[in-house]
């Protein structure tokens, strides 16, 4: 999987009308309408999709938000994990960078 180009300043967003989510004990089953695919997200990846659905956020903002929301330290939630998770979510289409694409 190719690393994503640097995304400094880029804002991420998701559209909650495009997906359906059901929670099963901290695991989220998510149906994404545009692709017709069903994904399993965990608390972190779902938390990220959910966070950017109400307001576009940059990578730094998402990181801060996840650490606060889930009471995690910088050591517990490293920056790199958020970055790779963003890239996975982006590839699946669940989130997109504002201004890129439609």
């Amino acid at each position: 999987m190719a690393a994503v180009p640097p995304t400094t300043g880029k804002k991420w967003s998701s559209d909650s009308r495009q997906y359906l989510a059901i929670e099963y004990d901290d695991t989220f089953l998510v149906y994404f309408r545009p692709s017709g695919e069903t994904h399993f997200l965990n608390f972190l990846s779902y938390g990220m999709v959910d966070a950017v659905s109400s307001m576009p956020l940059s990578e730094e903002e998402i990181l801060a938000r996840m650490r606060t929301d889930f009471s995690l330290t910088a050591e517990e939630l490293p920056e790199a994990l958020v970055a790779t998770t963003l890239s996975e979510l982006d590839q699946a289409g669940l989130i997109s960078a504002l201004g890129a694409g439609a």
Binding site: L20, Y24, L29, Y31, R33, G36, T38, F40
Partner: protein
Amino acid sequence: MSALSCVASYQRRDLRAALRNGSFTLHLGPFSHLISGASEPLLDYLTDTYRDYPVELSPSDVTDVLLRLEAPNVLRRFVRRQITPNPGFKIPAVPLPLSMAPLAFEMGLNLSVALKCCRFINVHAGVVADETGAIVMSAASGAGKSTLTAALLQHGYRLFSDEFALIGLDQPLLHPYPRAISLKQETIPVVRDMVGDNWISKTVTGTPKGDIAYYRARASDVAQDKIPTKAKLVLFPNFEKGARPVARQLNPAEAIMRLVPASTNYSLLGEPAFHAVTGMLKNIRAYEITYGSTMDSLRLVEQITDQKLV
């Protein structure tokens, strides 16, 4: 549809003629099947194992499934009698000796339903039901699913299917499709002991899958083939010789993760399939059960359903 006569009510020569003309129409559950290809082994099989199934000798409408059981090619028809299923789309079917016509028939129908019928979510699973709901059993072949299905039929359950859980798209109900239960190799004597010899077809020996016999569906199960029901339990049975019986409850997410890959058309059906599968699992439990004997498997089901079986 008006009431249809069953196979047993027809003369063999009329059945033969209908198969030869390609007008033999089998109705079962939600599907109708047009079958062509007359051969004595197939007639033997249909008049025995499918005796209680409703048929028409000429179709009153188009059918969901078109299955031709044909000789592989012109030469073969004369040289060595062989048979191969042709469900209307290309499959690299292996030609079988004519004596294996039952296998060609069952394989052909399974392929047709698995690949062509997408008004239901098809999950490769056995399903039985009583008045409280259906038990869906999903397992790889060889995990003892057919034996457990047969055992539950002896304890108050009716047969929905040994091959396909058909989940409705509009409502997450299971629909019966009670074809004969396919028994392989060492399960044949086990089930024969359980249900009695006259319920088991002649064994087809030396097939690509070893010995195969079919456990006939009961007339009462065939008669209830239009009555769907909701699921009450999902099981992932796992037969292991000598294993201590264990049941492990699964997070519904894990159950879905296992059911979906056993489906032939989940991805194809998209959003309705998502609703149906999650709807089916709503408020019901899923277990992986491991056991070393049929008795142990029944005891596990007893404990999980809180129902007296044995």
